[in-house]
Amino acid sequence: MSDQTFTPKDFKSDQYVRWCPGCGDHALLNSLHKAMAELNITPHNVAVISGIGCSSRLPYYMNTYGFHTIHGRAAAIATGVKVGNPNLSVWQISGDGDALAIGGNHFIHAIRRNVNVNIVLLNNQIYGLTKGQYSPTSPRGFVSKSSPYGTVEDPFCPAELTFGARGRFFGRCVDVDSSASVEVLVASAKHQGASVVEVLQNCVIFNDGSQSLVATKADRAKNAIYLKHGQPMIFGENNELGLMQEGFGLKVVKLGENGITEKDILVHDAHCQDNTLHLKLALMEGPDFPIALGVIRDVEAPSYDACVHAQIEEVKSKKKDRTLEELLMKGEIWEVK
């Protein structure tokens, strides 16, 4: 936070944005500028780290500190930036290939350690920069240049992977849905620890229509649910539908039918330690279930970088040596006179 007030423009760099016209990355970039303005963080205290891929070009379009690194390693580099200087607001921009294929190991370990980095995962279910191969989030049977007969493998669900790595924050938004995206991005930044925001992103060139269920406001009204902590899970064009628990699963119910009222509908608890229900919500798929958007999970836990520095301070309070020479003189030494 700063005494100065910043506008989205303050976070925009002078570089010409080179993504394809119609790419979802444009919209997300604008949402990110807005989110940072809303958070009122000082541009020079922000570091945006990316790997390789279309979305990883994003740091060049930010008037912050930025580092466009190597394929898959953004999480590892962001970890070093945050632990090296915990005062920075550190953001990681990755695509589905960068974070979940070549960078899968760093992704899960950054989450497990709970490094206070805001991971923005632009998921377009395709490799765009290499011109159209299937990605680890492409659905089974997906036809692409590298799978002309369809893939014979199942995709990752980023939320499931996040929870498997003990993730404490998971949010989801749609690239073109700006106000909801800003809200989720702001919440992810406020979360102290690793946060993952999955952006459902359309690739107009190689995978157009992959997000068709949630592409427009009308689509989202029909096919998505905006989860808000403390609010009942109600959705539908006229807020006529809701989610209830059935056994170990969820079911969609119609309000007013079979005597169901708002009181019977589940209330979203993003802060619940147990992630069972969060996982159920994140795994919902159309057309039978609404796609969950918003902050699905937001649970507090000590962040890695804070703990690393707290431990250093704790040892400093117990051991008084401050220079190497002081330390060495207390070891096994002998004097030659």
Binding site: H44, Y60, R73, L88, I312, V315, L324, L328, E332
Partner: protein, 639 residues
């Protein structure tokens, strides 16, 4: 060297030890230097016995050089050949440069240790054995085919035999320790015996044991008791063996000393550089033999503000360090050869982003997993050239355990001041070997001044704007107002620092990155030549961790009246400015290295028309000084 004396064969009343040979009279011999090799099962505590012996010798004013030689397995089956662990200590009245080729005293705690260490014996070596471990089943485990191991191995040395296991059990029967725990003190009996043999007072050893087991006083007491038993056993029962003195004869520089191995010295060198530069030290690392101790060492130093992250893999070790460097730390990653393979892509990111980074490669035997616990110099080409694209960086090779401190300090200084990754090559031999080290005063070390941006640069500043003499770009640390910028792995425009694929710009940036590294030759010392530098008939060229052996070979040859010189390189890339001049000055040049000729190849590439001999060994073991002398002499005699 151990002096020859007359031996009389003594047969004792022990049926299984009829091979004991004893000296006939008690004498005390003054020695210049002596090598003791402690060997036993990897669980026998030979490393501890050896390090206490070297430490107490150093305290008495001797110079020391040590080398542990352990198996890859943590606990191989007891008594087997693959489970033998060794620790060699070389103590000298004057300076010693290597842990020694062969040993003057061999402690063999079992038949397997005896068998694997035969190659380190000279006809004069004294052997100490635990007779309790030489039963038939022990011999079988060590794959002997007869019941007389000494005859089978053709050993005719002086042997000091002691039933170490049974004495330990007997001695500690009232201590409250069970047999298993009592037997763990066997190493101290051997140490006590060696201390007697070399007239070493036990006080310092006792002090060290009290410190080591400060939280377990009963264990400390048991170890001290057995140590004393060992000493007394020598005194009481083997009064007819010669004992030896290695009296200090050289005045060391005044000051405080400690015993330090290469990995610890490397760790401290990094700490010292961060302290001098006034920025935090960050280590990103993943455990790998023989480099792991650097991670261990630095993890302990939190009171000095050292940040360590044990990463998920080697790649992350390097990448997190690059992130920390971007954030303004002195960043390092420690590893061995296979880890460098994995880090290569990230190292290149630091090359093109022009960020400071220290990569420590504690070289081991390769290729692939190779010989993890053994030492080689086979990663030189990997360090200099092993990345995609034209990727110049700085390569430094530490020359001895204590030199690791200065080399790590200089690696850090160059990385920070020239905004470049530096690969510091050490090796398993100097990393684990130790020597006495004078605790330095940091006041005497050169300042470290990274090229930080200054407020007046802000107008029109670009991240790849550089000092036109050194070609070093300026460093703006995130958090600095007005200097927000973007770095990346894509080629950048020389003038605007924006992404560029322009052909001539790429040529210009390639030359610029090279010029930046070449300039560093102006900032490092000229190459020194030791020995007969004016009239040598042979110049020995070496680099890195073989310094001690090559210097000892030089000394030996000079004593024989030969005209030889040694140029031992620490700076590999860029090479010192006078390298060509030196290499062209001498009639014959031999490049000796523990690989198939990597430095020789590099020198031939840098010095057109250079004609050099090569001496190459890739055995995972240190050079043998006598063998070096033999080979170099042959080269000198060649017409």
């Amino acid at each position: 060297m151990l002096l020859l004396h007359n031996f009389t064969k003594v047969t004792r009343n022990n049926p299984k030890t009829n091979y004991i040979i004893m000296a006939d009279e008690m004498t005390i011999k003054d020695l210049e230097r002596v090598v003791v090799r402690f060997s036993g099962d990897s669980g026998d505590g030979m490393q501890l016995a050896g390090s206490i012996f070297s430490n107490l010798s150093a305290v008495l004013g001797n110079d020391i050089s040590t080398f542990p030689d352990f198996p890859a397995e943590i606990r191989a089956p007891q008594g087997t050949l693959s489970g033998v662990s060794g620790f060699q200590v070389h103590i000298g009245a004057k300076k010693v440069f290597t842990p020694g080729d062969k040993c003057d005293v061999l402690v063999a705690m079992n038949p397997a240790a005896l068998k694997t260490n035969v190659k380190f014996l000279t006809p004069q070596s004294v052997i100490i054995i635990d007779t309790d471990t030489f039963a038939k089943k022990d011999l079988e485990k060590a794959q002997y085919t007869t019941e007389n191991p000494f005859a089978e191995l053709n050993i005719h040395n002086q042997v000091i035999e002691a039933p170490i296991s049974s004495i330990c059990k007997e001695s500690l029967k009232d201590s409250g320790l069970d047999n298993k725990a009592a037997l763990r003190c066997k190493n101290m009996f051997a140490l006590g015996l060696v201390c007697w043999l070399f007239n070493r007072p036990l006080e310092h050893a006792m002090h060290m044991l009290q410190n080591k087991f400060s939280k377990k006083p009963s264990i400390a007491e048991a170890n001290i008791k057995v140590l004393t038993d060992g000493y007394n056993y020598g005194h009481n029962t083997h009064a007819s063996v010669s004992t030896y003195r290695v009296e200090p004869k050289e005045n060391k520089a005044k000051g405080f000393y400690t015993d330090i191995n290469g990995n610890l010295a490397t760790s401290y060198g990094l700490v010292a550089a961060a302290e001098k530069a006034g920025i935090p030290l960050f280590l990103g690392s993943y455990p790998i033999t023989p480099a792991t101790d650097i991670l261990h060492n630095l993890s302990k130093l939190k009171e000095l503000g050292v940040i360590t992250v044990q990463c998920e893999d080697e790649i992350s070790g390097c990448c997190s360090a690059i992130g920390a460097s971007f954030a303004g730390c002195l960043a390092a990653t420690s590893t061995s050869g296979p880890g460098v393979c994995l880090k290569s892509e990230a190292i290149n990111l630091a090359v093109i982003a022009e960020l400071p980074l220290v990569v420590v490669n504690v070289q081991r035997g390769g290729p692939s997993t190779g010989l993890p616990t053994k030492s080689e110099q086979t990663d030189l080409m990997q360090a200099v050239y092993g990345r995609n694209g034209e990727s110049p960086l700085v390569v430094i090779a530490a020359t001895s355990p204590t030199n690791c401190f200065d080399s790590a300090y200089m690696a850090s200084k160059i990385a920070l001041e020239h905004m470049t990754p530096v690969i510091l090559l050490t090796d398993g031999f100097i990393a684990n070997g130790s020597a006495a080290w004078k605790i330095p005063s940091l006041k005497e070390y050169p300042a470290i001044n990274p090229p930080y941006v200054t407020p007046e640069m802000q107008e029109g500043w670009k991240p790849y704007q550089r000092d036109l003499e050194t070609m070093v770009r300026y460093w703006a640390i995130p958090g600095t107002e007005g200097f927000q910028h973007r770095l990346g792995g894509l080629e950048k425009d020389y003038d605007t620092s924006a992404i560029s694929t322009d052909a001539s710009n790429h040529q210009k940036m390639t030359l610029t990155r090279q010029a930046k590294i070449d300039y560093i030759a102006n900032c490092i010392p000229e190459q020194e030549v030791l020995g007969d530098k004016d009239d040598a008939e042979l110049l020995i060229v070496g680099w890195g961790g073989t310094y001690g052996h090559l210097y000892s070979a030089l000394e030996t040859m000079q004593k024989q009246g030969k005209k030889v010189a040694l140029a031992h390189f620490l700076y590999i890339n860029p090479l010192p400015k006078n390298t060509v001049e030196i290499l062209k000055k001498y009639k014959k040049v031999v490049v000796a290295e523990q690989n198939m000729g990597q430095f020789a190849t590099l020198l031939r590439a840098k010095v057109p028309g250079l004609n050099v001999y090569q001496f190459n060994r890739v055995k995972g073991q240190p050079f043998n000084v006598l063998r070096l002398v033999e080979e170099f002499t042959k080269i000198m005699e060649e017409k």
